[in-house]
Symmetry: C2
Subunit: 226 residues, 2 copies
């Protein structure tokens, strides 16, 4: 009985996520679902991505947090439209929460939507929101045992960004093990090593993202014309 209930919840979520996806395709919006443990560097990566791409694409951001608006406040300072979802205790975003947030954004003036999920390496991986791609961050202080212990996140993501590479001299992070274990779970996983602090490696992330956005714009159903 219990399994059946969970399945229904996920089915219902998939349906709403699919509706979000159709809406995004109608407008030609590429959507990222960004996930990680608390404090791995999601908001900093969003800030860096905005700085790199704001001249090229019209960007919007949805911030997911249990409460508080401190991440959204950081994004608003960059003059980017941002909506805060406060889950009020909820441990992940779902399709419906994102759908509600979309009503506060001008989707006709957006090419790229970045959704920063609640900081949690477990639950967000289960819930689609209508994204084109799931991106996850693993930060070096967390340790290299995380793929083995939290497999779904690594299986669902298209990209694993290994952040805080600048801390490598001070932490015991086995980069080879992290890469190997993550690729064993997900052989297609793209792995990019960065330091948001020193900016090392960010060009590779930005290059990857731009390539994907351009490929989407070529292949997606054209947005409604003027």
């Amino acid at each position: 009985m219990r399994i059946s209930v969970v399945k229904n919840v996920l089915d219902a979520n998939d349906r709403i996520a699919g509706e979000n996806r159709s809406l995004f395709d109608g407008k030609g919006i590429y959507v990222i679902n960004l996930m990680s443990s608390p404090g791995a560097g999601k908001t900093t990566l969003v800030e860096e991505t905005i700085e790199a791409l704001k001249g090229k694409y019209r960007i919007g951001v949805i911030e997911g947090d249990i409460q508080d608006t401190c991440d959204a406040d950081r994004i608003a300072k960059l003059d980017i439209p941002v909506v805060q979802i406060n889950t009020g205790g909820g441990c992940h975003l779902d399709g419906n929460m994102v759908r509600e947030a979309l009503t506060s954004l001008d989707l006709d003036a957006m090419d790229l939507l970045i959704v920063e999920n609640v900081g949690n390496l477990v639950c967000p991986a289960e819930f689609k929101i209508g994204e084109n791609v799931k991106i996850m961050i693993l930060s070096t202080p967390e340790g290299a045992d995380k793929p083995a212990k939290y497999p779904l996140m690594f299986q669902e993501a298209s990209v694993m960004i290994i952040n805080k590479m600048d801390l490598m001299p001070y932490v015991s992070f086995d980069l080879g093990k992290a890469r190997k274990d993550a690729l064993a779970l997900n052989p297609q996983l793209k792995i990019i090593e960065v330091s948001c602090r020193t900016k090392e490696g960010l060009d590779i992330w930005i290059g990857w993202l731009q390539e994907r956005i351009e490929a989407y714009r070529k292949s997606a159903p054209s947005p409604a014309g003027p």
Copy 2:
């Protein structure tokens, strides 16, 4: 309707957690529920606590992970009875999982039970397991905005251990803000700064824990005699 279902789940869990608590009191076992984000240092703190106290108390450990036994393997090397709970996707331990795990431990030969929860700063805070005390770890690379963003964990814990103090020169962690925001949520919170790597501050944690165990042993219903 939805709120009512959640309430029933939590009520049922409270009942089972209460039964666990009665069992522990009958045996005179002090129980810690240890929680944090992934990679904050829970297992290392458990190892250090065992090293410091294994001559004084008979210790047992329950390891909670989604899958894998790497943490339990580390504890087993210290010659301490350990049971692994694999939640198979579940994001937290609950009273029933712990009750099941207890059948694999000799509770008549135990003074202190350390339960290491699934790495997650959100969901574990909602579920009692029959513990005497909830202990949480915040590590400096996670950032000082965590109390504001994940309030329940900081409200539920009796102790916040700030770990990885050795990384302070290399990360932007506002210790004053973390302390202030955590105490605003929970004025009784005991805050202990440690580095499991350099051992700095661990004596304060061990001293606090020993005091609590001794107070419990004086006040608790006596264990059943031989």
